[in-house]
């Protein structure tokens, strides 16, 4: 408690300075001291300002407590944890998904069936959110590079023998496991997003251990663009086709197949692969952009 009070008292210290200190500061500036200079404010605002900086952490804590109380009162109204009578579990949607999902989509994993068949439009939007975020990061970091900073100053993580040898053993396993998760998305827990993230982490590990040079031979900015664009276009096209045929009761070339086989579940496997490719490339792209600002 005492420590807390002390912390509270020091909260606004060394952040703001008041008008009296300004002269001292100017002298310091003339003598060439270029340390950080706190904001100067006039004497009239001073009292309010000090009140605000003192009151802010307390008010933030009170606000959080009030929010906790409101949310806890909402928790009190909820059905008990793990009980079967939550409103969504009682609704007909879930019953339909679970009981007929396997016949209708061909996916054994109902979550994959829901996100890539019943609600595939939602997942398409989600992939586009990821793509838009990647585009925004590109605009912010790639096309507005700081010309003053030389590439040498962004020294690439120095790789040491332990990291390199561990990576040699681990990377094939990681990539293999990621591919398994992508290809197995309709048969068990997994799917494009989780598998793509695993493959992306494998690529990042490779990059850290062996440097970007070898990876850059196959994964340049141009190839990244082509791969992601193709995957998203394939996703959109395939889903347009299946929405059109499904909504009009036409026969589709993608049959659900035998549930439980690897080549089954119609579009879910190819869509999982498309999503996995987008996610893996985007994860690696984020890493490359944030560490050395080029891909």
């Amino acid at each position: 408690m005492k420590k807390f009070k002390e912390w509270l008292r020091n909260w606004d210290e060394d952040r703001f300075m008041f008008a009296e200190d300004k002269e001292m500061l100017e002298e310091e500036e003339e003598s060439g001291g270029d340390s950080w200079r706190p904001m100067t404010i006039s004497g009239l605002e001073r009292q309010e300002f000090r009140l605000f900086t003192r009151a802010f952490p307390v008010m933030a804590g009170i606000l959080a407590l009030v929010m906790i109380l409101f949310l806890l009162s909402a928790v009190l109204q909820l059905p008990a944890f793990g009980s079967a009578d939550t409103p969504p579990a009682k609704s007909g949607t879930i019953r339909r998904y679970v009981e007929q999902g396997m016949q209708e989509t061909g996916a054994v994993n109902i979550v994959a069936g829901v996100i890539l068949d019943y609600r595939a439009f939602d997942t398409l939007g989600e992939s586009h959110v990821l793509f838009a975020a990647a585009a925004a990061v590109f605009i912010l970091l790639l096309f507005a590079r700081d010309p003053q900073e030389s590439p040498e100053s962004k020294a690439i993580l120095r790789s040491d023998p332990i990291l390199r040898n561990t990576a040699k053993v681990l990377i094939p396993i990681i990539i293999l496991f990621g591919s398994y998760v992508v290809f197995n998305g309709h048969l068990g827990p997994g799917g494009g997003f989780s598998g793509g993230a695993i493959i992306g982490s494998g690529l990042i590990l490779y990059d850290m251990a062996f440097g970007p040079d070898r990876l850059n031979k196959i994964l340049t900015l141009k190839s990244y663009r082509i791969i992601v664009l193709c995957a998203l276009l394939f996703y959109s096209g395939a889903k347009c086709y299946s929405f059109y045929c499904g909504a009009n009761g036409l026969e589709t070339i993608f049959s659900p197949g035998t549930p439980g086989r690897i080549f089954s579940a119609g579009l879910i496997l190819p869509l999982n692969i498309a999503v996995g490719v987008v996610v893996a490339c985007t994860m690696y792209g984020f890493f490359a952009l944030f560490t050395r600002e080029q891909i």
């Binding site: 606000l63 928790v75 944890f81 969504p88 879930i94 109902i110």
Partner: protein, 127 residues
């Protein structure tokens, strides 16, 4: 009341985690820590959603051939919602970190007060 809260302790934990993230967002002046606070709030939302979907004693929604009764599986819908949420939060985090890098390059600090001061000075200079 306390028994209900104890029975719903996962949701209570989610609420507290949400508040922890919120306070982190408010009290820290470092932009990276603010991003971390926002991520903690995201995590609290996922914890809440998954805890709503769980039903005691039921299997995960990976259907076996013999058993397609809806009474034997947990609710698959919250899992799909959490998946959507995770992807969106990753995207938002990436954009926020990229903006943070740009801010750092311009002002050479991550402290929000110092950034305010620089912006203030710049505006004074324009006048």
């Amino acid at each position: 009341m306390w028994t209900i809260l104890w029975n719903n302790r996962i949701q209570v934990a989610a609420v507290i985690l949400f508040a922890v993230g919120f306070v982190t967002l408010l009290l820290h002046r470092n932009l990276i820590k603010k991003v971390i606070g926002l991520n903690i709030m995201d995590t609290a939302a996922y914890l809440f959603l998954t805890s709503i979907g769980y039903i005691q004693g039921r299997l995960s929604p990976v259907i076996t051939e013999a058993d397609t009764a809806a009474e034997h599986y947990v609710n698959p819908l919250p899992a799909g919602l959490v998946l959507t949420g995770i992807v969106v939060s990753v995207s938002v985090t990436a954009v926020m970190l990229a903006l943070t890098i740009r801010i750092y390059r311009r002002y050479h600090t991550l402290n929000l007060d110092e950034i305010y001061r620089y912006v203030h000075d710049e505006m004074e200079g324009e006048k």
